[in-house]
């Protein structure tokens, strides 16, 4: 270690290194007012869709988008506190409440895919081929097969709770019912590892399928539709929010160009699209 022979030299090097680091620290600053905080679900990030869309938006408009990927529940909580400018979420009932309470405006339909129940190929609860998804959950409960719940108030978790309600079963506290408290990708990993069932959105499942030992065991029930809306924050309530940026992003999401990208996103990699564009359609007509 000739390099380090001279003590003073090493210390000088160290100081120079620190100064260089401190100096370049200033480059971090992104221009103010140009920032948009997008609160969205883990599924839009884990599926890779936003990695394609955000750079396009930033290039076209000059805005800088800070994507915070959390569950839909937390995304709307951020909106309620004025900590986000625009939300891309998939928890319709909670969204309606959010709008009614005056936190958000201009809720627009963006796209949908669907939820699926996945589980080990052996299918111990024999849910394969069962039409109704709440019936399938009933079979899982009756056979005490392991079910992994997101347990994080996300859109997927909200859907799961609706399905349990429909099936007339109260899973909370049961031994076979476990909550991960994690995002979709990680919950799928856990379910795969523990050979359990779980409810997932098709997009995340297809995108992470290669590392999972899980098959699609229940799909197609009309209640399994997974619908994404974009909501702008109510700027009369939160004057600090970047309303113009929020509108620009929401407009971008429903623009024809973006919708065309959504239509084909994932086809090359997974053989089928992960999301179906729906801008301008009515929710009642989806999946028909």
């Amino acid at each position: 270690m000739n390099l380090f022979k001279n003590n003073k030299w090493t210390i000088t090097l160290l100081i120079v290194a620190v100064l260089v680091i401190m100096g370049t620290a200033n480059v971090f600053a992104a221009p103010k007012q140009k920032n948009i905080i997008l609160a969205t679900t883990t599924s839009t990030q884990d599926s890779g869709l936003l990695d394609v869309l955000i750079p396009l938006f930033e290039k076209g408009t000059g805005y800088f988008v800070k994507t915070i990927a959390v569950g839909s529940g937390q995304a709307m909580k951020m909106g309620e506190k004025g900590e986000a400018d625009v939300m891309l979420v998939h928890s319709p009932d909670a969204e309606k409440k959010f709008i009614e309470e005056g936190y958000g405006v201009n809720r627009r339909l963006v796209m949908h895919n669907d939820f699926i129940i996945v589980g080990p190929a052996a299918d111990p609860a024999k849910i394969k081929g069962v039409k109704s998804s709440s019936e399938a959950l009933k079979l899982i409960a009756n056979s005490s097969s392991l079910f992994m719940s997101r347990g994080d108030n996300s859109g997927t978790h909200a859907k799961e709770k609706t399905l349990w309600k429909k099936s007339g079963i109260v899973p909370a506290g049961q031994k076979w019912y476990q909550e991960t408290g994690l995002g979709m990708g990680q919950t799928l990993n856990v379910a795969s590892e523990k050979k359990g069932y779980t409810l997932a959105d098709r997009g995340t499942y297809l995108a992470t399928k290669k590392s999972l030992a899980l098959d699609i065991l229940n799909e197609g029930d009309a209640v399994l539709l997974n619908i994404y809306h974009v909501i702008e924050i109510n700027s009369s309530k939160w004057p600090k929010a970047n309303a113009r940026g929020a509108k620009a992003f929401a407009d971008f999401m429903v623009s024809k160009k973006t919708q065309d990208i959504i239509k084909t996103f994932g086809v090359d990699k997974y053989g089928s699209p992960l999301f179906f564009p729906d801008a301008g359609k009515k929710v009642e007509n989806l999946g028909k």
Binding site: V18, F28, N189, W238
Partner: protein
């Protein structure tokens, strides 16, 4: 097992090909954690030395608090920093939530008690007579403190390593206050969490390996300085 091998291969692919995104993430990790450690060094050593060299009532309680702070859970720090700096928080006007600055602040808060605790212990472990000796030679208290800090260079470098190691490997606070924004606040640890969530285990392992290499190189440099001191 196969996955780990794949991860290692992937790591070397990413390093050798100078993958622009991974290089950016690594450089950002170094910048943020390096700056945070530098800040923590300033506060940690000065306050640590101050507490070690003054006697006051309740000193043991203060020392216990500092030692407890060495194990400050990063997520708790992240939560408090978030609440302080979000738009509706007391420091909201700064508009620094989800920026690298917020990450530096959170990491500096995590590293400061670590540096403080170690420097406090190392200065206290110097022979008590040394203080009297220096003072009797006519040094002011500030000069004495400076000489004592120089005397404990060895453990102080250990403090730097511990502080830096603590923050560059930390993920809870970074993801909370930084938001893991691509090309802006995504560092090695938060990227690893995200790639794990996406099921890209090979990339996640590769990022983990790069993190270890970076931490090793930084510690190698610091250890060289430290051991040089000892030989003299």
């Amino acid at each position: 097992m196969e996955l780990i091998v794949q991860g290692i291969i992937k790591a070397f692919e990413l390093i050798i090909s100078f993958d622009a995104e991974v290089m950016g993430i690594t450089w950002l990790s170094l910048k943020i954690s390096g700056t945070a450690t530098f800040i923590s060094l300033f506060f940690g050593v000065s306050i640590g030395a101050g507490v070690a060299l003054t006697d006051f009532p309740g000193k043991r309680i203060v020392i216990s608090l500092i030692n407890t702070g060495m194990g400050l859970p990063p997520v708790v720090v992240g939560l408090f920093v978030t609440i302080m700096i979000w738009r509706s928080g007391p420091l909201g006007f700064l508009e620094i939530l989800y920026t690298p600055y917020a990450m530096i602040i959170a990491q500096a808060i995590i590293a400061t008690p670590i540096v403080m605790g170690i420097s406090l212990a190392s200065i206290q472990s110097l022979p008590a007579n040394l203080r009297l000796q220096i003072l009797s030679l006519g040094a002011s208290r500030l000069q004495m403190a400076w000489i004592l800090i120089k005397e404990s260079k060895l453990p102080l470098l250990a403090a730097v390593m511990a502080g830096f190691g603590g923050v560059i490997s930390e993920v809870g606070a970074s993801i909370m206050v930084g938001g893991n924004i691509k090309g802006y606040s995504r560092v090695l640890t938060t990227a690893t969490v995200m790639e794990t969530g996406r099921g890209n285990f090979d990339i996640a392992i590769a990022l983990g390996i790069i993190l270890l290499i970076v931490a090793f190189l930084v510690n190698l440099l610091l250890t060289q300085v430290q051991q040089r001191q000892r030989l003299r």
